[in-house]
Every structure is written in C-alpha cells, then in structure tokens.
Symmetry: none
Subunit: 370 residues, 2 copies
DNA sequence: GCCGCAGTTGAATCGCGCC
DNA sequence: TGGCGCGATTCAACTGCGG
C-alpha cells in the first residue's frame, strides 16, 4: 500500500459496505479518490405478464421494486445523476465499467458519453448457458453488454495488456468474452434456499475486469453492490473495495460472503478456464457465406442420391426436407447419418466433400475457449 | 408478384437506387409502404491522427467526409431525423435493423427507443477475423452491434423462427452471430483496385437478416445503400429492394453489382415453416370422421390420467369436462396444455398420439385444399 | 466412486384470431 | 375492442438420487 492510498484510507471507507442511496453517499465521499468503478445498475426491464416454459413451469422473473421506473425519462434522469456523482469520485486517470442489456444499455452509453466519459471498448459477455426464448418469438437473448470508459479523453487509464493476453492463451484479448452465468455453488442462497439476488454476476467476469484494468492496491467502488461480487473478487485479488447497497437483505448476504473470502484464493483463478471441443459449424453457415448457393445440388458420397440446398440451410431430395443429417438418413433408410461426411458438391467436374468447407470455416474461426 | 405489390410498384420505386439525401427522399415516399429497413448509418468515428501497424504501414482508416459530425448533438439530430422519416415509411407491422459500433450505437439505440420503436433484440456480430489492436492499449474491437426493432410495441413483426433454427442446425438462433468480415472476391474494388467502400458489409449478415425477418416479396429499404449489399441479397432471395445513396461513386458500383446478381430458384427459397402457419384442425373433426368414437378412452402421455371422448368433441375425465386442452390443463393443474400432444388413444394394445390423426387430416388438406 | 437419468433453472420487454 | 380459447414453445448446466 503506497503513501497516497494510506492517506486516502483515513477518509475513504475502504472494504466496507455503505448503507443507503448511492447518489447521496457518493456525493459525500472525497473527489478524485477512486481508481475504478464497476456499476451494475437496474436494467429497467419492462415485463408484462407471466412467462412459462414449455413444460408449464413458471419463469422466476426480475420483478423487484428496485427495477421499476415510470418512463425512459425517469430512468435517464437517474442514470445521469449517479454517473455525475461517480465521475466526480474518479481520479483523473480513473475508469468505469457499466453493464446492461438492450433495455437500458443504449441510454446508459449515451449518458456516459454526454457526461464526458471516453468510451474505450464495449465488451460483449456471451453467455455459454443463457435462458432460451421459450415462445420462439425472438432470438435467444444470449449476451449482455459492458461499457469500459475512461474518466476523460486524456485519462491515462490502466490496461494490463499482457495479463489479459496471458489469460487468453497468448492471443490478444478480444471484445467478446464467453463466460457462464452464475450458477451452482457460486450462486448465493437465502435462508429458504432461494437465490439471494436475482441477478448475481459471475466472479469470472469481475476477475477479468479487475485483472485487466486495475493494479493491486487500487480502490474499486461498486455503487450497486448487491451480494458483493465486486468486493469478493477485489479482496481475492488484493484490491480495496467500497460497496454501496440500500437493500438490507443484500448487504447481509454480502457481509457474510466477504468475511469468508481470502486474498489470493488460487481456485478462483481457475474459474474462467474451460476446455472446449471443436466449435460447432451449422451447415446453414455455408449457405449464408456463399460457399454453397441455394438451389445447388449435393451428391451423396456413394453417388446414389441427390438433394438440393435451400436458403435456410436445409436440403430437399426425393420429397424429403430437413437437415443434411436428416435427409441423408431418410434416403439411406438409416436411423442416423453424419451429413458432413455423407454429402459432396461438384466443382470443376470434381466431387468435393462438404466437410472441407466446414474445416475451412473452423480454420478461420480461431476460436478461443474464453 | 401479387396484386398488392403490383399496385405499390406504381408508386414505390422498387429495385432502384435513388440519388440524394435519404431524409428528403424518404419523406417523398408513401407512408406505411415498406416491410423492413436495414440501415448502416455513418458511425461518427472520432479518429485523431493516423494509425500505423507495428511494421509502420499506415492503416487505411474511415476518414471520409460523410463520417464527420461536429458533435454528439449534431449526430443525434441527424439520427433522430432519419429515424423519424424511416418510421413513417414502415408498415404497422414493419421492423428495422440498425448497425453500429460503440462510437454511435448507444446514441442510435436511445434514439430508436425515443422514436417509438420497440427493441426486439440487440445482436452482436462477432467478427471471426477482426483487425487487431496494434498498440495494445485496448481490447481488440472484434464485434459490431445490430439492433432489431419493431415499428411499435404491438407490431406483429415477421420472425421466421424455424428457418433460423434450421440455419443453426436445429438449435434456436442466439443473439450473437459469428461471421467473417467482407474480404476476398466479395469485397468490391474500384478502378484503381482499391476497396470501393470502406465499410462494406458481408452478404452473410444480410442473408441471415432477410431470411429471419422478411418473407419473399417483402419490400426492403436501405437508406445508406453504399455498394448495395442489401439490394444484392434481397434480389437473390426474392425480396424487393429500394436503395438510397448520395455518393455517385457508390451508386455506380452498386448498379453494376446488382445487374450481375441472379435470384435463386423458387424451391430453394422455400424455408422451414412453423407449425403455427399450418391450418387449424378442430378435435371434433376426428370424432365426426370416425377416427375416434364417442365413448372411447384417451390416455395422457405420462400415463397418469384417462378421459372419455364425447360426441361433440369434448372430453370428460375426473368430473372435468371441456376441450382436450382444458381437461389436460385441469388434470395436470397447469396454466395451459396442448391437448394434441398430451393425449393418446389405444390401437392394437399400443398407445398412439392423437396428433398423428391431425397430421393425417392435414396431409389430406394439402391434396384437396377444400 | 462413477454413471445415467430425471428434475430444476437462468436480467425475458416471449400469441393470435375469432366473435 | 375485449374476452376467450386454441395450442405452440427450450438450451446448457447443475443437483440429487439410484444402481
């Protein structure tokens, strides 16, 4: 801990959870005293009725009072006020992370820019296990967006390029991060065994943020502390934290959690690493990418059957419609069929297995596990 | 081309590129005449000096005059004006796609919401081959963001759920799409052999958008047409397009490109459809036709409940009377139940789902529609 | 202890047409 | 135009139990 931090510590309520409204409390703290802010504000989801899964079970929606706003205008006023208070607290070279979904993140991003923050990246948290779209009316909402911004255009912000590169197996870290949502033992439960907080963030996400954009000893503030994921990871990684949370139930869970956290917990470093098999390539992608055209004919490897490619990546042959696997199986009268090795196409009079196209796509993907 | 489209064609400049300012031109077109808008507006990149690669070669940045705006305020005014004109053009059930990067997309998204559009999804285009961050000062900017929004909250927007699911090998399409940037033969060159447009989008992106959110024959408008990717894919897929582009050089490249594009043949454009589109068959018809007899017993799929068929096509089981759906729901204590997939009957000692009888009727209907 | 299977769950702006 | 009723719709993980 260097001298500056030690002095600040006499004023700053380090490693504590403050009880109350984040705007009031931030306005009461000394200006230019914080290195990084992580903020997970209410998303302002505008949910109407209940939603049921196809098996008729009810989805436990986020319908808490703290997520309700009367209008975009009210939400914007709130956002601009807490962002203003947050910006005042940041040191000149400080930075902020904000997370949101399409319901609120565009308003949040515009408010950040208007407040004088300088956006450095937007980062996509691609969820490996999102909730599906049960009604089939939209795309699976499989990601959330984070915005990383410096206090101002000329801030000398912290970016640990090499550390993130190392986390990413030697390849420069990209703006899309694949991480699982918070489940299992990490997900905190209340006394009834229900989830303690409806939107607890995974520690892996905060781990990457704090490793990449803070140094040991830095002061990290979270104005929407919830169950304290930011504090837990900060403590593990040797950063100082300040939490603000107005709901007593969340504060209690967070206090208990933080007591049991130890610095340099090695196991937490392993959270983000996971092995992955070869990435799945949908056949439809060959069509979208023009490697095969709708209307083009495929030939079975044994030369016995033909089928035509359709615009949605299905085949039609002998009146059978379906995936490359389904049509292959139907034509052969087999229970199953690997379409990738069954079909080929013609180029310059030669038969070429479609699997070669898949290999080409995989080579381009250079997929990283995380 | 059906009657409605033919009439509209007398007013709408279909399959043309209009020369001029998109706001003026959109205001001159008839209201509620367009099914889908795809817009790739200027990104308002705020680039300072030149950028060089580690080998000192200069990066060819987007520094065209059309991408320069004096301030966020000016950019917002511009965005809100073209969005207003665009919204007027959309049919009540129409929708819009907008693409942007962190420089502009937050402002665009907020403007969309303020204009009354209803966001359906934000979609991340994850680039398989992005430009690296040469200076190591930020994360590799490896994605762009698309916003899909309906004209209003109660628009009955087009979503070809099954077609997108087919494109994704039978798994529901997610909000993150991995696609390569536009390179190689697809990337259009000018007479000097330089790229004809700095931000040409890949056809694969438009293919997915048009397959997923339009039907054949729909009118698709692109107010920032550029080199005409939207038009090219629309033509291939049998959609009508309207392009607007004020730069003569881009219009020329696009005209040439569109002339050489051919529509895919009819059958390959057919796409996997949802059950919802199939004709409704009342359960009573199975009784009328003698496929099931009054008094016959049905068994629930899980084997737990029985019910008796009545002459009017209702069921009675455990003192509950009503439709196959109502009785199923009541017995299971569920909010709803699809009776077609819930009940089966016995034939030769085997359980047969009643849905097979419905499929039989539907098959006959295709042969003799009336 | 390991494997398989059944059950549960996650920041969700999640019908439509007829009368 | 509001109410009612048909009937369509899910993926990846993790938990716990039984063999």
């Amino acid at each position: 801990m260097n001298k500056v931090i030690r002095e600040a510590a006499t004023i700053l309520p380090l490693n504590q959870i403050l009880d109350g409204d984040c705007i009031d409390l931030m306005n009461g703290l000394p200006a230019e005293s914080v290195d990084l802010i992580f903020a997970d504000p209410p998303y302002n989801l505008q949910l109407k009725g209940d939603l049921h899964r196809p098996d008729n079970s009810r989805v436990d929606a986020v319908d808490d009072h703290w997520d309700q706003f009367a209008s975009f205008q009210v939400y914007d006023d709130f956002s601009r006020e807490w962002l203003k208070a947050a910006r005042r607290l940041l040191k000149p070279n400080g930075a902020i992370w904000v997370i949101g979904s399409y319901h609120n993140v565009f308003r949040l991003g515009a408010a950040l820019q208007d407040a004088g923050f300088w956006i450095l990246n937007d980062v996509v948290w691609r969820k490996s296990n999102p909730m599906p779209n049960f009604r089939g009316k939209r795309l699976t909402n499989a990601h959330e967006t984070l915005i990383w911004a410096a206090k101002s255009e000329d801030s000398k912000y912290t970016f640990n390029y090499e550390a993130l590169k190392a986390l990413n197996e030697g390849i420069q870290m990209r703006s899309d991060w694949v991480l699982p949502i918070c489940t299992g033992h990490e997900r905190l439960k209340d006394d009834n065994g229900d989830k303690a907080h409806p939107t607890q963030k995974p520690e892996s996400l905060l781990h990457r943020i704090l490793i990449g954009t803070t140094n040991a000893g830095d002061v990290v503030l979270d104005p929407f502390f919830g169950t304290g994921t930011t504090g837990a990871v900060a403590k593990k990684l040797g950063r100082e934290y300040i939490g603000i949370e107005r709901e007593a139930a969340y504060r209690e869970v967070a206090e208990k959690r933080l007591k049991s956290v130890r610095k340099f917990d090695r196991s937490s470093l392993e959270v983000t690493t996971s092995k992955r098999a070869e990435p799945r390539v949908p056949f439809g992608q060959l069509v979208e990418r023009g490697m095969l055209s709708p209307g083009e004919e495929l030939l079975s490897m044994n030369g016995r059957y033909r089928a035509k490619v359709r615009a949605d990546g299905t085949l039609i042959g002998n009146d059978v419609k379906g995936s490359i696997h389904q049509v292959g199986a139907a034509l052969e009268g087999a229970p199953s069929c690997n379409g990738w090795t069954y079909w080929c196409y013609k180029r310059d009079g030669k038969r070429v297995p479609i699997d070669l196209l898949r290999q080409q796509i995989r080579a381009e993907m250079v997929e990283r596990p995380n």
